[in-house]
């Protein structure tokens, strides 16, 4: 996966304002990235590496693992906090597949997020949007984050 960079500002609870946008995360996911994720995760479902199988079950192409999209999405939060252990809860619905074409570019994931609500006990809820082209590929993507 190509890393388009992130920032490591460490927010603190008192100074965080609802509505604050987190720095965007952009990555590309290629067929090679899917194979690598198959190996690292142990998820070798054929729809993630075999175009013939993917099409035979009605998918448009080989699709990315939902968990790879989820891992990419939560990075917008962990890049923001610096310390990934700040993530207390993280939930997504996989609303649209991320088709990954057999070319050198792959597909681009664009992750945006904002502080939706300040919760008690130094926690904030961050709402995340993950796009692949015009499609929102996650819905109800939310993280609860503990801030210093």
């Amino acid at each position: 996966m190509t890393d388009a960079g992130g920032t490591n500002s460490i927010p603190d609870y008192d100074s965080v304002v609802e509505g604050t946008e987190l720095p965007e995360v952009r990555t590309r996911v290629s067929r090679a990235d899917l194979i690598r994720y198959c190996g690292a995760s142990g998820d070798f479902n054929v729809i993630h590496w075999n175009e013939r199988s993917a099409r035979s079950v009605g998918l448009p192409d080989v699709i990315a693992h939902g968990m790879l999209t989820m891992a990419t999405a939560v990075r917008i939060v962990t890049d923001w906090t610096g310390d990934p252990s700040a993530v207390a809860e993280f939930a997504v619905r996989f609303s649209r597949p991320v088709p990954v074409p057999d070319d050198d570019e792959g597909s681009e994931l664009v992750i945006s997020a904002r502080v939706a609500k300040k919760l008690p006990d130094s926690r904030v809820r961050v709402d995340i949007v993950a796009r692949c082209g015009p499609d929102k590929v996650l819905s109800m993507a939310r993280a609860v984050v503990v801030l210093p």
């Binding site: 990235d33 054929v46 199988s53 009605g58 962990t78 252990s85 809860e89 619905r93 996989f94």
Partner: protein, 153 residues
């Protein structure tokens, strides 16, 4: 074919302990394209207050999905795995997974239902250390697309 609803409420303990390796964490972090040093460098992890490198928030799916296979590959359930896609996922974290952890857990089938021609199965896995310390709870919804109605493509 509809799934067998008698699976609702069944529990499955982990078949074996999952020992978290430092290089496995690095491999996983590389695969998700995340360069955060706390996944690779013990000193960076210690500076952040952890005893060893920690794993990315979605790392527990490695073992929770493996535990889920006990159910989803059970022929008696009737799930067509070739048509399965991941519908929802949620993690509720007590503490991050870290290198050296010896993890186990219990999978519970929370629900089975049909909706819009799809078969849905919801599971939760309560992941703990071998000594019973809570680590994370993983909730998963798997969807078998178009399997609930015969003949639907």
């Amino acid at each position: 074919m509809a799934l067998d609803p008698s699976f609702i409420g069944r529990t499955y303990p982990a078949a074996e302990v999952y020992e978290v390796g430092r290089e496995k964490i690095r491999e996983f972090a590389d695969a998700i394209g995340d360069p955060n040093p706390v996944y690779r460098d013990r000193d960076a992890a210690r500076t952040a207050g952890h005893p060893d490198v920690i794993a990315p928030p979605t790392f527990p799916i490695i073992l929770t999905a493996r535990m889920g296979e006990q159910v989803i590959f059970d022929p008696a359930l009737g799930l067509d795995y070739t048509k399965v896609v991941h519908g929802q996922q949620r993690f509720v974290v007590t503490r991050p997974v870290r290198a050296g952890d010896r993890l186990t857990g219990v999978l519970t089938v929370d629900n089975i239902q049909s909706a819009a021609g799809n078969d849905l199965i919801s599971t939760r896995v309560d992941v703990t250390t071998e000594s019973g310390e809570p680590v994370v709870i993983a909730y998963s919804l798997l969807v078998a697309r178009g399997t609930s109605v015969e003949g639907r493509s």
